[in-house]
């Protein structure tokens, strides 16, 4: 090395140690900074619609299955019994469609089919469609909490 001085340093150990400190502090600084950069890409706040939202009044939904495009879900009604099934296919997230004559859900992307209770019986979907719990707001609207899921035995009765 042409940069090494001809005369030996008085304390080579100390010099090497200081050099070591210098190099690794640069590495540590870069790694810390990178950690900050990675953190920046994990959002702290999501400006997404709330997972809990209002639908219409129970009386607006006819007997049978009604698609609610805005929230990508189906409202099913049997007399005064309600339940809500997600329209998001459990395979790769396309929107499934309700086929009234066949009483089944079909996915347009990869051909998955689900029974009326959301159980998959054909195609690649690995899991049943999600069921969400219902409640009624003070002003009489159905409220869905799509952050939670319930088993397919769930029914919400309107008095």
């Amino acid at each position: 090395m042409s940069l090494t001085p001809a005369s030996q340093p008085a304390q080579p150990e100390r010099r090497r140690f200081l050099q070591w400190i210098g190099q690794w502090s640069v590495v540590a600084a870069i790694v810390t900074q990178l950690g900050g950069v990675v953190r920046a890409f994990v959002p702290r706040v999501l400006y997404e619609p709330s997972k809990k939202f209002k639908l219409g009044k129970p009386s607006e939904y006819p007997e049978g299955v009604t698609f609610v495009p805005m929230h990508r879900l189906f409202v099913a009604r049997e007399r005064n019994q309600f339940h809500v099934i997600s329209a998001t296919c459990t395979h790769l997230g396309c929107t499934v469609e309700w086929k009234d004559k066949l009483a089944e859900f079909q996915c347009p992307c990869h051909g998955s089919k689900f029974k009326a209770d959301g159980l998959p019986f054909a195609g690649p979907a690995p899991r049943p469609l999600e069921w969400y719990p219902l409640s009624v707001s003070g002003d009489g609207f159905l409220v869905v909490d799509s952050g939670k899921s319930v088993p397919p035995t769930y029914r919400f009765a309107i008095a």
């Binding site: 959002p43 997404e48 990508r72 790769l92 396309c94 929107t95 990869h110 195609g123 690995p126």
Partner: protein
């Protein structure tokens, strides 16, 4: 040898062909000439062949150049916002003067680049040009292929139409199926739990800066590495019958002034390869002339294709209506087919097609591609020749894999109709609603 010495040796092996004897020599070599790393002074005549390499590497580089220029021009008119993206693309296509040409050319060059990079890889495999010292460059090539695909995928979202929205929905849900890291990966990629404004900006910045910069850096290394490894495989002594790996090393003696125009002679360049100086030709003008010819052909092809057929633009993105059928870009259709047919049910356990077809199968193919240069035991004298007898088995296997991929792509492209039903290309599909 200590760990540190090993690392230093590895670092030298990766970055240096020769170590300068003095600081002065090192500086001189670098600063004397602007075109220092552009071309070697002389190139072996064998590597000029049209039929050996098919010039696929050069073609993909020129497609990248066309994509960069048209891409920068498109950036002047495109607005990466969920409110305006669709309408700015529509303006580019129907209002901006010759905007349609820019957009079509960008689209066609992107499709062609995916195709040509893949063909380039097949060529390198079939000619065994990834062996011995060239294995490092094969790995760089694998990364470049992945970057090309990711570039294409990020560009796919930008028009913010139905095609874009649903292709990316399906694509990012495949990423979600990856074990352990999948959900976090999708969350960071989308910047949230659903495709929205943060997704669009992330894909945009990746598409116009991060990924092209990565491609450019690796492309530079790829080219430098070709020279470091002794030029193209067809010029190897191995392909001339010398059956031992050769570490490329400087051959003493010859000095050239680059391009024959600079007066300096201090720069030592490697002689022209194992066949000696007589079998070599000056790069300028011979190599340069052929490259210009290839560029002209590639440019003309993208223009002609753009005049014949335009880039599609469907209805604006609508999260509540999945188009039927919804398809991935053509180069991912083989994956889409796999994803749709590989869901396994073993007793109570269900393995999603997203995991098997979307992650495991391509993951295994990728791992095999990465490991192959180190597993291949065929004799080195076959390097640099098309379909030699000794490599028949592995070439056949790759042909079969490529053929299966092609068939799956064609099925997905031509035969998949609404609800994923199969139709013959000449059969009409039932009418499907395009809006609610």
């Amino acid at each position: 040898m200590t760990m540190r010495a090993r690392l230093i040796r590895l670092w030298r092996w990766v970055t240096w062909t020769w170590s300068p004897a003095s600081e002065r020599e090192a500086s001189t070599a670098i600063v004397e000439n602007l075109w220092l790393h552009w071309f070697p002074a002389k190139v072996a005549e064998a590597s000029f062949s049209w039929s050996y390499s098919l010039w696929l590497g050069a073609i993909s580089a020129f497609l990248f150049l066309i994509l960069t220029v048209t891409g920068v021009l498109l950036m002047f008119f495109y607005v990466p916002s969920t409110q305006q993206a669709y309408w700015s693309i529509k303006d580019i296509h129907y209002v901006v003067g010759f905007g349609w040409l820019l957009r079509n050319q960008h689209r066609w060059a992107a499709h062609l680049m995916v195709l040509v990079v893949f063909l380039h890889m097949l060529r390198v495999f079939f000619t065994g040009a990834y062996r011995a010292q060239r294995s490092a460059n094969w790995l760089v090539g694998v990364i470049l292929l992945l970057l090309t695909l990711f570039l294409s995928f990020t560009g796919y979202l930008l028009p913010w139409d139905q095609l874009a929205f649903w292709a990316v929905t399906v694509g990012t849900n495949i990423a979600k199926e990856a074990p352990l890291v999948g959900a976090a990966l999708r969350f960071i990629l989308l910047g949230g739990t659903e495709i929205g404004q943060s997704t669009l900006v992330r894909f945009y910045v990746l598409h116009v800066f991060v990924l092209p910069a990565a491609v450019l850096a690796l492309f530079a290394y790829h080219m430098w590495r070709v020279r470091r490894d002794g030029g193209m495989a067809v010029t190897d002594p191995a392909s001339a019958g010398v059956d031992e790996p050769r570490e490329a090393s400087p051959v003493a003696g010859k000095t050239y002034s680059l391009f024959g125009v600079t007066p300096g002679t201090s720069l030592e360049t490697r002689a022209a390869g194992p066949f000696g100086d007589e079998a070599a030709t000056f790069s300028a003008p011979h190599l340069l002339r052929r490259l210009m010819l290839v560029f002209l052909a590639v440019f003309t092809l993208t223009i002609v294709l753009s005049l014949i057929s335009g880039a599609p633009l469907e209805e604006p993105a609508n999260a509540t209506l999945t188009p039927n059928p919804a398809k991935a870009p053509w180069y991912f259709l083989w994956l889409q087919e796999l994803v749709a047919i590989t869901t396994l049910r073993l007793g109570g356990l269900t393995l999603s097609g997203g995991l098997i077809g979307g992650i495991l199968v391509p993951g295994i193919l990728l791992a095999a591609g990465v490991a192959w240069p180190f597993l291949d035991r065929s004799p080195l004298r076959t390097v640099g020749r098309w379909f030699p007898r000794e490599r028949r088995l592995q070439n056949t296997v790759l042909c079969i894999i490529a053929f299966i991929m092609l068939v799956l792509v064609l099925i997905g492209m031509l035969m998949r109709g609404p609800y994923w039903q199969l139709y013959w290309p000449w059969q009409a599909w039932p009418e499907m609603p395009r809006r609610l």
